[in-house]
Subunit: 483 residues, 2 copies
Amino acid sequence: MSETSLDPADWERFRRLLHDAVDGVVDDLAGVREKPAWRPVPQRVKAALREPLPRGGEPLETTLARFGELIRPYPTGNRHPRFFGWVHGAGNAPGVLAELLAAGMNANVGGREHAAVYVEREVVAWFAELFGFPPGASGILTSGTSMGNLLAVVAARDAALGDGARERGIAGAKLVAYAGRGVHDSVAKALRIAGLGEGALRLIAANAVSGIDADALRARIEADRAAGERPFLVVATAGSVDTGRFDQLEALADLCAGHELWLHVDGAFGALAIASPKHAHLVAGIERADSLAFDAHKWLHAPYAVGCALFRDERAHRAAFVSSPEYLGRSARGTAAGAPWYADYGLELSREFRALKVWFALRHYGIDALGASIARTCDLATTLAARVRDCDELELLAPVTLNVVCFRAHPAQIDDEAALDRLNEAVAIAVQESGAAVLSTTRVAGKRALRACIVNHRTVEADLDVVIATVRTAARDAGAAHR
Amino acid sequence: MSETSLDPADWERFRRLLHDAVDGVVDDLAGVREKPAWRPVPQRVKAALREPLPRGGEPLETTLARFGELIRPYPTGNRHPRFFGWVHGAGNAPGVLAELLAAGMNANVGGREHAAVYVEREVVAWFAELFGFPPGASGILTSGTSMGNLLAVVAARDAALGDGARERGIAGAKLVAYAGRGVHDSVAKALRIAGLGEGALRLIAANAVSGIDADALRARIEADRAAGERPFLVVATAGSVDTGRFDQLEALADLCAGHELWLHVDGAFGALAIASPKHAHLVAGIERADSLAFDAHKWLHAPYAVGCALFRDERAHRAAFVSSPEYLGRSARGTAAGAPWYADYGLELSREFRALKVWFALRHYGIDALGASIARTCDLATTLAARVRDCDELELLAPVTLNVVCFRAHPAQIDDEAALDRLNEAVAIAVQESGAAVLSTTRVAGKRALRACIVNHRTVEADLDVVIATVRTAARDAGAAHR
């Protein structure tokens, strides 16, 4: 450390260290297939990460070595080609490059006039083009779809309440929102944050393939209106997290237009099906949404965390989030130019340069190759479902509409549902702890399911065989242990 | 790109590219003083960043070259030793290293069992220790204090409303909050987002040195209670953004305890005065807050964006944000262990590995050296204020309590306030466009002020002379142009 700043006393020593770090990162990534898909964090590591606040410092080389010993060996696991848990992107090389460059620039993209703002505008415009949003649409990169859903709920709420909302809040307004059963929990959470409560969410029956029952939805809206409630929002799901189900967006857009409701699409991972010609039909009508939230760290594999929220009506978007105190005055020239500022479009005033990693990936791969990668993971899911069907000891629990396979171990000798639930919970843990693969669990029609969500661009067909074999072994071992 | 994945077909080629990028980043950082403090983004660059969505790809080398041509030359400016605009951290070398490593790991820190979760816990524990929060306190790293203030407002709101809040929302609850005039706008915005509206914020008179008038606050709370409102929250400011003012936290903590109100401290940059023994008295009593939000990308210089929110009562914190749908079930073992998950403590389910850059900085520098750096910037502000006082053409507009100097050009021949406002607006732009320095503007007691907020660890005394000389020249030029 220099005497007069926090900069390195010797930049060349820092340069060497950063080069060493590059070799560590590339070696780690290139060898990811050879490592466990996941492994527990040892108690020794947890204990070592409980030191008191450092008063004095240590050489950066020491900190780097500590990272290599305690942190790098215990990753989330999502980079591994047999990590099928939840919905996790696998990361990509352009993203690593971009994060290094962005850290060097240390931009604050809350506003003002500098290149990072224009990179974000380009990325948002690319997404608006991809989804067919009209000219005049606006958008912002978020940390992910939970945040995007919250932005949409707040913008829809304020649009429904009109001019007084900013000052008065929701007061006694009896706003209600609608979504299909199986909608992501972040939607109910957004309603809680926005002061409306989870009780404001009406869950409508939804079919595992065709999604929300539009007739049931229409009837519920009319009944609520008749009862003095104020319907304001329909949340459609493009790719449900449990089974990968798609609501019918054209029908919902018609219904929302007829009832003057805001249509928001939660497309966390599924919206990007639009990039695959074979799957784009699943999101037909998405261009008619009032807002859309989706992630770039899932099927586009940008490093965590980056998503996007798009809004059809820029004024409604900005009205919900803009503020202009004196100390943030905009000007036509100088550093404070660049209006509208991204702070006017979301919750954050200090904002990192999230756009660069998406910009690098879209330029380097092009959307067509990214779409082909998405299609490959769907093909693998179809293949995995076929392998499950071919295996007497396994049972497929839901049709595969996209990239999610819900199945369970079902040995012939067990027919008690509670026992099957326990068995499959044990199987999920055993598979994870084996290091061979990661599956998560969910419940499908009341049954405990193993859930394989294939997002990873590194997955190949041979990985599916490993997963099937690992599940079968784990089920036999667990069954034997339970006897 | 490989045929079967998005990974590089040749990892060694990618490794060379990343090494090239390291040299670019280090050269850029080591030379930051020699570049303009800020410069406008040319129209040519803005036009080049408006291409259609890339369908096909391009070599990563091409994308990197494009970054070097269009993006890197036009940064926010905050790394430069004479960037004094708003409150911007300058970045640091350990942060660049950490962001590279984090991008390689691609962790999702929303939850589950992996090392990044334990790094975040250690960093949160370090901050809790620094601020004297009790055992049992909880915390989460956020993108910054705007988000931290929102988390605090929501947690305080739900704590006031009790068990029904989750389901019913705020319904007709007449909740009101209090803060001193000059409180950051993100507090009013958080009340809007939370459904309470800006009208729920009572602005109390505040002195430029001693902060909120506690007697006026007490009287207002009692009057509101008498009128049937429900006071629930006092937001204290530790380092106001306009002048660097501190509210008296001990007095406010006493008052809140007596009235059963939640005390939140917005300490965006000022809270970290605690790390400097000479300035820690400014935040005496901060350990009594119910919640505290502050940034690590300002005075700790972690690359954007990272802040922290601390909560005295873990249960109140978690109650506001927890949810546990089936597909996110926690388990005692396996990948889904690691409860409580960070998703239970905030708005984000997908979360980047924000902790690593803070962990690297705190370990490498130690808090004492970071505190000394903070003290240096305060000394520089005092010195700058003295230079302003020594100069007939300049006028100091507020006492310097920390690191913020509000002043203006005030030529002897101009005494019209509107003309002085216009002059100083022109001076701010001219100084920015000169590339010599960046000052922002605010309003102090109705007067347009040039605002120098010295945060940068690279700033030295000679930089202050450059700023004074640049402002004087700009004021003379602008005065001549106006005549």
